[in-house]
């Protein structure tokens, strides 16, 4: 595999956007993860935050220790001879998910859009091990993909003010589960009882970039047994 040609862009007084790719692709991940590790090593204590997204890394460094020229030199050092990370060791998670209209109000909409039955929508959504591309939006909110084209659907034109924790949704060809109660505009199709973010979870976020995630359909009884909260969408805590 050919190493990506990294482009450096000024983002702020003490931050640079490192642009590795132009398109969202699962093949980006080994490079993104390798770059993250190398940048952490090379910057050491001068690194304040490193925020990966699908195609870029936002690098925030300590301006008391480095000026922009020094920071750029360190980036060049980090990318020199970069080898893609081995994703075989990445974790695979199974997220039990109760797919139901009562907690997934867009299940019907997605079925209608795709011409599939609701059961078929569930089978297709749960039939794929998704790649975690990035965390963002909220603590532990993992952007995963890619969802089959036939299930892709635009965000709701008016986002909901309040979505229950554990809600599973689709936006375009991405899927995600909401770790905490939050506003949101994704098409909801079910709910997972799994805890996604907390100080009791190693690394705080259950899902990390590079991990693979499979949604496993469960029924209501199993959902409750696993500690799920089946209260209606907007009223849940």
């Amino acid at each position: 595999m050919k190493a990506p040609n990294v482009r450096l862009e000024v983002a702020g007084i003490d931050s640079l956007i490192l642009r590795l790719f132009d398109f969202i692709d699962e093949a980006n991940m080994p490079w993104m993860l390798a770059a993250r590790t190398r940048l952490q090593e090379v910057f050491g204590g001068a690194l304040i935050d490193l925020v990966p997204s699908y195609t870029t890394l936002l690098l925030h460094y300590d301006l008391c220790q480095l000026d922009s020229k020094q920071a750029r030199a360190k980036v060049a050092e980090a990318f020199d001879g970069l080898q893609p990370a081995d994703l075989q060791g990445g974790r695979e998670h199974q997220l039990p998910t109760w797919y139901d209209r009562s907690v997934g109000p867009e299940l019907q909409l997605l079925a209608r859009r795709s011409g599939l039955s609701e059961a078929e929508v569930i089978t297709r959504h749960s039939g794929h091990a998704y790649q975690v591309f990035a965390l963002g939006f909220a603590p532990g909110f993992a952007f995963m993909g890619l969802v089959e084209e036939i299930l892709a659907a635009p965000r709701l034109s008016t986002p909901r003010k309040r979505i229950a924790a554990g809600s599973v949704g689709i936006a375009e060809r991405q899927t995600a589960a909401y770790p905490v109660v939050s506003p949101g505009g994704w098409n909801l199709i079910g709910r997972t009882p799994s805890r996604l973010f907390g100080s009791d979870i190693e690394g705080y976020s259950l899902l990390q970039p590079g991990d693979r995630v499979r949604f496993v359909a469960i029924d209501r009884a199993e959902f409750i047994r696993l500690g799920g909260d089946d209260s209606p969408l907007e009223a849940s805590q």
Binding site: L135, A138, Y204
Partner: protein, 309 residues
């Protein structure tokens, strides 16, 4: 119970009266926001006046409408906005230390100059660290007095971590004034080339009005419509002070409680000094944007940080 518990009891409060410190770092890759005091300069001075670590926890009081009862004698410090503070009946101007006696009441009315006041106590206010910081973040349920993200509520009791503080005096030349329309320095970003020439001219030669939609997450500006040739973008990490331009052409300046990644094109990002100054602006006030470069801004910022050394 710690001997220093219960120094101040909240009698009146609002969602905009919060425990804040220097913010949460090294966690943005988890989707956790930076948080921390918006006017980091006033925050540092409040701690400096008492000889505290500069980023120790303080109470950030936005717009006023708060009252505390002092549970024991102490020396506190107040900086930032003039929110019509009083100690019992006596007016209390900011940018100084002041002694309080048990039973006295410290109140904040409404803004007379600036928007955010910072109240410091000896050693810093006491709160559990969550992901390295006690900064309050309700949306994420992190930080604050109990670690659950909540703002200071009526009945809450705030303790601090040292018995006494220093009694420093504020160097007069460092006391800011918040009346004049500020010129906010903006480090030009890489996407600047995606904006139309006329829009770039407008961005830096117009008066921008602070919108009603202004909070710790971001502040909207109203003015000429800025046009960007680039449509949708793949989401990417957002630095502090990023000036993003959504399709309506009205910029939003993203502050400490911003989301970690987002997909609107940006003019660049305000300098930290400009972010602090913007934090003292109220809706309806006017600001100007002034372009600068990374290197020039860095020099200014390093000089600014040297003030406290």
């Amino acid at each position: 119970m710690n001997a220093l518990d219960g120094g101040l009891r909240a009698l009146r409060s609002s969602p905009f009266v919060q425990l804040q410190d220097g913010g949460r770092f090294g966690v943005r890759h988890l989707g956790v926001t930076q948080c921390g005091a918006l006017d980091w300069i006033a925050h540092r001075w409040a701690n400096w006046l008492l000889g505290n670590p500069l980023t120790a926890a303080v109470v950030e009081i936005t717009l006023g409408n708060a009252e505390f009862e002092c549970s024991r004698d102490a020396t506190l410090a107040l900086t930032g906005a003039d929110l019509g503070a009083r100690l019992d009946d006596q007016p209390l101007t900011p940018w100084r230390n002041f002694a309080v006696r048990k039973g006295q009441r410290l109140s904040f009315a409404q803004p007379r100059q600036g928007a955010r006041a910072y109240l410091a106590a000896p050693g810093g206010f006491q709160a559990p660290l969550v992901l390295g910081s006690c900064a309050s973040m309700l949306r994420e349920g992190l930080g604050g007095l109990l670690g659950d993200g909540r703002a200071i509520a009526v009945g809450d009791s705030l303790g601090w971590t040292a018995a006494t503080g220093a009694t420093r005096q504020m160097p007069a030349e460092f006391i800011p004034e918040y009346q004049a329309a500020p010129r906010l320095q903006l480090v030009l970003g890489a996407q600047i080339g995606d904006f139309r020439g006329q829009s770039l001219f407008d961005a830096f030669n117009s008066e921008w009005l602070i919108d009603q939609r202004a909070d710790r997450m971001g502040i909207r500006l109203n003015g000429p419509q800025l046009q960007c040739q680039r449509g949708s973008m793949i989401s990417e990490g957002i630095p502090l002070g990023a000036v993003q331009v959504p399709p309506d052409g009205q910029p939003i300046i993203l502050l400490n409680d911003r989301q970690t990644i987002g997909g609107y094109p940006r003019l660049g990002a305000l300098t930290p000094q400009a972010v602090a100054r913007l934090a003292q602006c109220l809706p309806g006030q006017t600001v100007h944007l002034v372009p600068t470069t990374q290197d020039s801004a860095l020099l200014t910022q390093r000089q600014l940080l040297a003030q406290w050394q």
